[in-house]
Structure formats: structure tokens, C-alpha cells
């Protein structure tokens, strides 16, 4: 039995416009358009100092978004990342502050990363072995961690001065490598590491497999439990790293650090093209979406809107997300794919 000859490879590739019609390109285009529009109105927006500030500020969110993308790709979700950041910030402050425990920076860093991984691992265990839905686990964890953080900080008069913390940590805020700020370097390293994980290691393929078709993955011999445990632990570790980057940027450690982070990151990940039901999504899209959504605050500032306009900021953000999701959905419908339910 002979099969008919295959047409040449070039003819099989989808037309250029279809290849470009991916979420990542839309987000990039929107980002570019926004930057261009605001810079036109107010050239101060594309000053080096402003760009630097925006990137440094977006760095912790980007780090967490890398981890959360993988979690969502496996079909789970983690909304405890914000409270975890607050908790780890409190631990970092208390251990490294010269007024309190005064540990050397290295020990504090290790403790923070280890605690982050531990909490992530706990989330993972409850989801895999306990078979508790991830949204429930992380919702409960979010509340519990917030309470623990507040109780913990109340023993330190509710705020810890960051300037008293180990000077070595200051490098994460002020330092630079080849004139790229340290925070951005770390974020780039995390993105590179995650990309390596996803595209070069078999583990990356397995993560996508578990998310897109759990039954098939099981039949193929993949351990859903181990993979999900891994992504949760990784996210915990990345939250620890993000905390190390975020805390030196601030002036004081208090319990509201990280609040709202989970909402922002989940929004970024979804706007970036990751499907909430799992199996689909790229790191690139998430990172671009983080840049886009983090810049909204600055955009509105530089647009110099009237006083009453500031009251509508949040409404604009919400409407924007809705529009982004709607646009994506209509685009997918035209190509016969269906998202979600």
C-alpha cells in the first residue's frame, strides 16, 4: 500500500496573516500602540528613567506570572500568591532587619525561598493528594496566610523599616548589571529559565500534555500528580524570588504588600493568551500582558487626564480586560475554535 506523495512543506504552512493572528502579536501591537499614543501626547513617557521605573516595577509581577502561567496551563489556579508574597515579605523583614533578628542576607534569602517552596508544595499536595480543587485550596491558603502575616507583623509594631534590612539586599533595588537594573536582570533570568524549561526540557511538554488532555496524559504514563506538584512548588519559589525583588523597592514592610497581586497576575496570564481550562498558553504572551497591564497606571498618569477622570481608572482597566478577552474570543470563534466551557 503506498501513500500519495505529500505536498512540499511550504504549502502546508498556514498563510502569514494566520500565523501572525496569535494573541501574543495582538498584545505586542497593543503595547506598542499605547506607548506610541501616550508618547505622542506626552514625550516624557518614553524617557529612559520612566521606562526603567516601569520595568523595575513590573519585574516581580513578571516573575510570578511565569510560574502562574504554568499552573494555569496544567488546568489549576493559584490565587494565594499575593498573600504568600506578603507573608514572605514579613519574614524577610523580620529576619534581616538589624533592629530585629539581624540575620545575614544570605540566610534570610534562603529562608524566604525555602518557605515559598514549602507553601507552594503544600498547595500542590492538597490539590493532588487531597483532591481539593485548587481554587478552594488557594482561597483558603490566601486567607490563612493573610491572617498569619498580620498576626506576625503585629509583634513587630506592624511595620518594618526596609532601610534597616541587610545592605546586601539593597543591591536588588539599586544595583545593575551592564546598566540593566538588578530587578530586571532577575526577571529576565527567570523568563529565560522558564522558557528553557518549557521548550527544551521534556517536562515542559508534559506540563502542556497534562493540561490539554489529562486522560490522554494518564494513558501515556504521565504522573499528573507529580507534574502539578512541581508547578505549584515552582510558583511558590518564584513568589519568594519576586518578594526578594519587591521588598527592597519599598520603604517599609507591612501586611498589605502583595495584596491584589493574584488578580493582576491571573488577568495578565489570561489576557496573554493562556486558556483558563488549561493546555494552551505561552510565556511570551504572559510577559507581554504584564508589561501592558502594569503600564496602565503610568499611562493614565502621563495622559494628564482631568481630576474626575482618575475616579474612572479602575472602570477603564476592567473594561479593557473585557475588551481584550472579547476580542480574543471573537477571533477564535472565526477560526472555529471554542474556549472554556
Amino acid at each position: 500500500m503506498s501513500t500519495p506523495p505529500l505536498p512540499p512543506a511550504a504549502a502546508l504552512a498556514p498563510p502569514l496573516w494566520q500565523r501572525l493572528n496569535r494573541r501574543e502579536f495582538w498584545v505586542l501591537a497593543l503595547l506598542a500602540a499605547t506607548v506610541a499614543a501616550v508618547s505622542a501626547k506626552n514625550p516624557g513617557f518614553c524617557q529612559l528613567s520612566n521606562i526603567r521605573n516601569m520595568l523595575v516595577n513590573a519585574a516581580p509581577t513578571t516573575i510570578v506570572a511565569c510560574g502562574l502561567t504554568l499552573v494555569i496551563v496544567t488546568g489549576e489556579i493559584d490565587i494565594s500568591v499575593g498573600s504568600l508574597m506578603g507573608f514572605l515579605a514579613a519574614v524577610l523583614g523580620a529576619t534581616s532587619s538589624s533592629v530585629h533578628m539581624g540575620w545575614p542576607a544570605a540566610y534570610s534569602v534562603v529562608l524566604v525561598l525555602a518557605l515559598g517552596m514549602a507553601v507552594g508544595c503544600l498547595n500542590g499536595l492538597l490539590v493532588t493528594l487531597g483532591r481539593v480543587p485548587s481554587i478552594v485550596v488557594t482561597l483558603g491558603m490566601m486567607m490563612a496566610l493573610l491572617g498569619v502575616t498580620k498576626l506576625f507583623l503585629s509583634g513587630y509594631d506592624d511595620s518594618i523599616d526596609v532601610s534597616k534590612c541587610a545592605p546586601a539586599l539593597r543591591w536588588l533595588d539599586r544595583g545593575a548589571v551592564l546598566s540593566i537594573p538588578a530587578a530586571v536582570c532577575i526577571a529576565l533570568a527567570v523568563i529565560a529559565g522558564s522558557a528553557f524549561l518549557v521548550y527544551m526540557l521534556p517536562l515542559g511538554r508534559r506540563i502542556y500534555a497534562v493540561g490539554s488532555n489529562p486522560r490522554a496524559a494518564f494513558l501515556a504514563g504521565l504522573s499528573q500528580q507529580r507534574i502539578k506538584l512541581f508547578v505549584f512548588t515552582l510558583t511558590g519559589l518564584l513568589v519568594g524570588l519576586a518578594t526578594l525583588v519587591r521588598v527592597p523597592q519599598l520603604a517599609k514592610v507591612e501586611s498589605s504588600i502583595g495584596q491584589g497581586l493574584e488578580l493582576l497576575v491571573v488577568t495578565c496570564v489570561v489576557v496573554g493568551g493562556t486558556s483558563i481550562s488549561g493546555g494552551k498558553g505561552t510565556l511570551c504572551g504572559s510577559v507581554l500582558a504584564v508589561l501592558l497591564l502594569s503600564s496602565i497606571g503610568s499611562v493614565l498618569l502621563f495622559l494628564r487626564l482631568s481630576e474626575s477622570a482618575t475616579y474612572w481608572e479602575q472602570a477603564i482597566q476592567g473594561a479593557f480586560i473585557l475588551a481584550a478577552v472579547l476580542a480574543d474570543h471573537l477571533a477564535r470563534r472565526r477560526h472555529g475554535q471554542e474556549e472554556g466551557a
Binding site: S49, N57, D157, D158, S159, K164, A251, G297, L301
Partner: protein, 346 residues
């Protein structure tokens, strides 16, 4: 899978258990009367419930420390210090309801939203509890006295005067507040704008932003101000999150001394910035004394020593405090500068 009808025996069994719980509660009053009877001691302790706007903020924690000091000095005061950790007015109102049921003697409220708390405070007064306000005033008909550290007008004027002095009487300034709905901040801003219009025509207020309770957001906005407005001379950080964030932004941008930052904060939070010159003056008042005075006032009220129409109040180590109308005045605003900031630890 069998269908379980609403009227199945198991469902009725559950209802019976629930009814039993209800019965438990109905049997309560007799039991509780006995318990409180047995609890009466030789010296009646006065329970004072101190409600901050938000629990877990250094400002209020230092007030609580002063309050605890007063409670210990007085000896017969049982102090409850609790408040919403998220600053929610609804949670505050719920707490007041609980204290009413618990029958405390005095509730001292720092209202985060006078309107939301008004109904609960009024109910407390109707039930015979004493209600006073401290730190921020509630609606006059809902409280008997207001322990006032400084009027909103004093605060607004002090902020503007300090800034004007620091920047040399002319230039552009911006304000970083808390949330758009924050009553205190809005009142201060009202007086600030009045003062600017009346005395400092050369100082121009160019923008006001609301970072909420988010330090990171305040930092972003402050950085935005610095980048966007090269001619900016001063930033007001009028909340506990905005002030340190603004100072840090100015320092990080290397503009310490060129952009002046002032605002309201506890001295500990700003010590570092004052020492390195980023901030010249920090405005506040002695929060420990405020808490101390509040407990003394509550104690006097509960014991009947403080009545409407009194002109003075004896407040322990603070001496005699003046009462103007129904405002018990703590005293003046404190300005912390490099010279005196080390004397304070809160």
C-alpha cells in the same frame, strides 16, 4: 441513584438536630444571668473598647500602646483593642454591634466612615453605653465627646505651611492621598487647597492621585510625578503608605533636597529619610498621648466624673486638658525634624 425527597427521614433527622441547637440557645438567658452574677467582683472593672480605623497600622498601634499605659495606670480598666484589619467600615460597625451585645461600658471609635458607623453608634447610645470618638470625629449626635488631637484645618494648614517654607514659597506641588473615599484625607485636602489659595498664590497644586492603601502603587505614582513633571518642587504624602513611598521615590531618583516631601507619618517610619535629608519635616502629634487621653476620658465618663458642659479633664501624666464644647483637646501638632526626631519612638 435513588432520589432523596425533601421529606425523607434523614432530612427530618437533620432538622431535629438543628432544632436542638436552637433549643440550646433559648436556654441561654437563664444560664448567662447566673454567670454574670457569679462574675461580679468587689471592684467593678470598666470595660473600654478602643476601635481604630484600621488595625495593624503603626499609627494606631502606637495609640494603643498609650491606651494600654493609661489602662495600667488606672488599674480598673479592661481595655479591648480591636479593629478591622482591612479598614472596612462595615466590619467596624459589626464590631460595635458585638460590643453592644457584650455590654461594654465605653466604646471609643475612630470612624473610618462616620456615615456607615452612625447607625451602630446611635444604637449603642440608645442601649445605654457611653460612646466617644477619637482621632477623627463622628457625627455629633452619635457620640458624647470627641478626643481631638488637632482639627482638620490645623492639619491642612500645617502641611501647606511646612511645604511652602521648605520649597521657598513658590513652585509646583502634587498630592498623594489614600483612596478617593477616605474622609480624613479629603477633609485635609479641602483645607490645604483653601490655605494655598489664601496665602500661597505662587505655589501651584498640579495633580492629586489616589494610590489606595498600596505602597507599591504610591511608589509608581510618585515616580511618575518625578518623571513627568521636571519642575515639580514638592510632594505631599498624606497617608501612611504614600509618605514613605514618595520619599523613597525622590531619593531613588537622586532628587533629595530638590523635591521636598512632607506629610503625616509616625516618626519611626520616616526617621531614615529625615536623617538623610530627603524629608525636612514630618507632621503628626503624639499618638501615644492620644490613646492615653482617650482611655482617661473614657474612664472618667464611665465613672461619672466627666459630664457634658465640663471645661477641663484631669488626665494622669498629661495634667489638665481643656475641653472646648464637646472636644477634649490633646494639644498641638508636632513637627518632627532632624533635631528632635530621635526623641520619639513610635
Amino acid at each position: 441513584m435513588t432520589q432523596y425527597s425533601v421529606f425523607s427521614t434523614r432530612y427530618l433527622l437533620l432538622l431535629a438536630i438543628l432544632a436542638g441547637c436552637g433549643g440550646e440557645r433559648a436556654g441561654g438567658p437563664a444560664g448567662s444571668a447566673k454567670a454574670t452574677g457569679a462574675g461580679v467582683q468587689a471592684q467593678k472593672r470598666i470595660t473600654v473598647a478602643l476601635l481604630p480605623k484600621r488595625k495593624g497600622v503603626p499609627y494606631f498601634t502606637s495609640c494603643a500602646e498609650g491606651a494600654q499605659e493609661a489602662a495600667k495606670e488606672l488599674g480598673d480598666v479592661e481595655l479591648i483593642y480591636d479593629g478591622p484589619t482591612d479598614g472596612s467600615a462595615t466590619a467596624s460597625a459589626d464590631m460595635i454591634d458585638r460590643w453592644v451585645q457584650k455590654k461594654v461600658d465605653v466604646i471609643a471609635v475612630s470612624p473610618n466612615n462616620p456615615d456607615v458607623l452612625a447607625a451602630a453608634m446611635k444604637k449603642a447610645r440608645d442601649k445605654g453605653l457611653h460612646v466617644i470618638s477619637w482621632d477623627a470625629d463622628a457625627r455629633p449626635e452619635t457620640r458624647e465627646f470627641f478626643v481631638n488631637q488637632a482639627t482638620a484645618q490645623n492639619i491642612g494648614c500645617a502641611l501647606v505651611d511646612t511645604m511652602a517654607k521648605d520649597i521657598g514659597g513658590e513652585g509646583e506641588v502634587a498630592i498623594l492621598s489614600a483612596t478617593a473615599a477616605a474622609a480624613n484625607q479629603n477633609e485635609w485636602m479641602k483645607y490645604m487647597k483653601e490655605r494655598l489659595a489664601e496665602k500661597y498664590s505662587k505655589v501651584q497644586l498640579i495633580d492629586t492621585k489616589y494610590p489606595g492603601e498600596d505602597q507599591n502603587e504610591a511608589l509608581k505614582l510618585a515616580q511618575g510625578f518625578i518623571s513627568d513633571r521636571p519642575s515639580l518642587k514638592g510632594i505631599f504624602g498624606i497617608s501612611s503608605m504614600a509618605f514613605p513611598a514618595a520619599a523613597k521615590a525622590v531619593r531613588d531618583a537622586g532628587r533629595s533636597g530638590k523635591i521636598m516631601v512632607t506629610g503625616l507619618s509616625t516618626p519611626n517610619d520616616m526617621k531614615e529619610f529625615v536623617k538623610d535629608g530627603t524629608v525636612k519635616s514630618v507632621i503628626l502629634w503624639n499618638t501615644r498621648d492620644l490613646g492615653y487621653l482617650t482611655v482617661y476620658a473614657a474612664h472618667a465618663l464611665a465613672k461619672g466624673e466627666l459630664k457634658a458642659g465640663d471645661k477641663t479633664l484631669q488626665a494622669g501624666r498629661l495634667g489638665e486638658k481643656t475641653i472646648s464644647g464637646d472636644n477634649i483637646l490633646l494639644g498641638d501638632i508636632l513637627v518632627f525634624t532632624k533635631e528632635n526626631i530621635d526623641k520619639f519612638d513610635f
